[in-house]
Amino acid sequence: MKAPPFDYHRPQSLPEALELLRGADARVLAGGQSLVPMLNFRLLAPTALVDINALDELRGITIEGGRLSFGAMARQREIERHAGLAEIAPIFAQAVREIGHRQTRNRGTIGGSLCHLDPSAELPMLCVLHDATLTIQSAGGSRRVAVRDFIQGAMSPGLDAGEMLTRIEMEAWPQGHAFAFLEHARRAGDYAMSSAACLLTFDAQGAITRAAICVGGLGDRPARLTHAEQSLLGARPDEQLFAQVAEEVERLPAEGSIHASAPFKRQIARTLVRRALTSACATMVTA
């Protein structure tokens, strides 16, 4: 249960880090909350680790005119407690509280979560929910990619050798939107068997004008319920309608595990989608 030997680099600037990633069989070390267990289990044995914890360029969360911008090294705990984010995109704090435990959230980062890509991970799900755009950099240049193209499957980020995810950007939903994030795990902090997140806006008459719904933990990546999103437009909140649109989960790919079979996961996800929609509407009433 000890990591195999590796060369350790702690670059002080992004260009230096990108140079170190070039060529060699190097892995980026961000928060280390997934990578280090994999090293300890000897599932990985890179020749070098490039520790990006000293890079100021990758830190912080900025909010400008409704646009959210996360440095890849923004820590989960920082996202959980960020006052500006709580105001403009409160679903982040709600979802991040479900990630692991305080000790792991103190270290874990949004960029690390997106590059590890556990299918039930919360932050990739929120990125898919918000149609985030990612900035990928390498010594040769920089490119931007939609998060849905970046996620190529379980633990399969769309990164070429020498590339690093540096920034995650998305538009926040309009002020006062409804939101909910729910997940089910056997114990607090465990990987979710299934999870559901939604964002909704309403017109003055209380009809739904925009909807985004995403489920996690079912298949190999977070999935949007695009038909459900469409069928909610123009409708008023209605428990029966929510149950009906949640049926779309039945058409999504699902993989069973030792903890939950595929049908059981779908059943949980269906229930969570219905509850998330109901609970999001409840946040509107109180607001």
């Binding site: 249960m1 000890k2 590796f6 909350q33 280090v36 267990p37 520790d51 305080r102 000790q103 103190n106």
Partner: protein
Amino acid sequence: MKQDLTLTVNGVSYTRAVEPRVNLGDFLRHDLGLTGTHFGCEHGICGACTVLVDGATLRSCLMFAVQAQGCEITTVEGLSDAQAPLHPIQQAFRDQHALQCGFCTPGMLLTVVELLDENPDPSEAEVRDAISGNICRCTGYQPIVDAALQAARTLKGGTR
């Protein structure tokens, strides 16, 4: 290849040469002889190896010692001196019988230190949430929760 590392542990500065693959917890135990930090699972599940790094808890099996360059670490040994009275949180654990085998205790203590620093008056639910990443196989958690709540009362009373 070993790399030089300077860090502060419980107020004492140390400089050692260490291999990059050595995690922080093993460094504390084997290089510094501070065996109060316990290792259970060594893959970030059990919470036994929790220490404070610059005031925030983390699992010392998931951080390499070389990453702690320049950091201030607090381990269970830093909570009270051998001759001094116990830290109020330690005293509360003793009063409430919040340990049996004691293996999870250092991690539990430091987790409660962080909780009470941030939230001096936690509810029982907040205590349970805070310690949810620390596995105890003896107590059933209830005495640990009671101890954390007792410590909160003591610390609020200004007897720290």
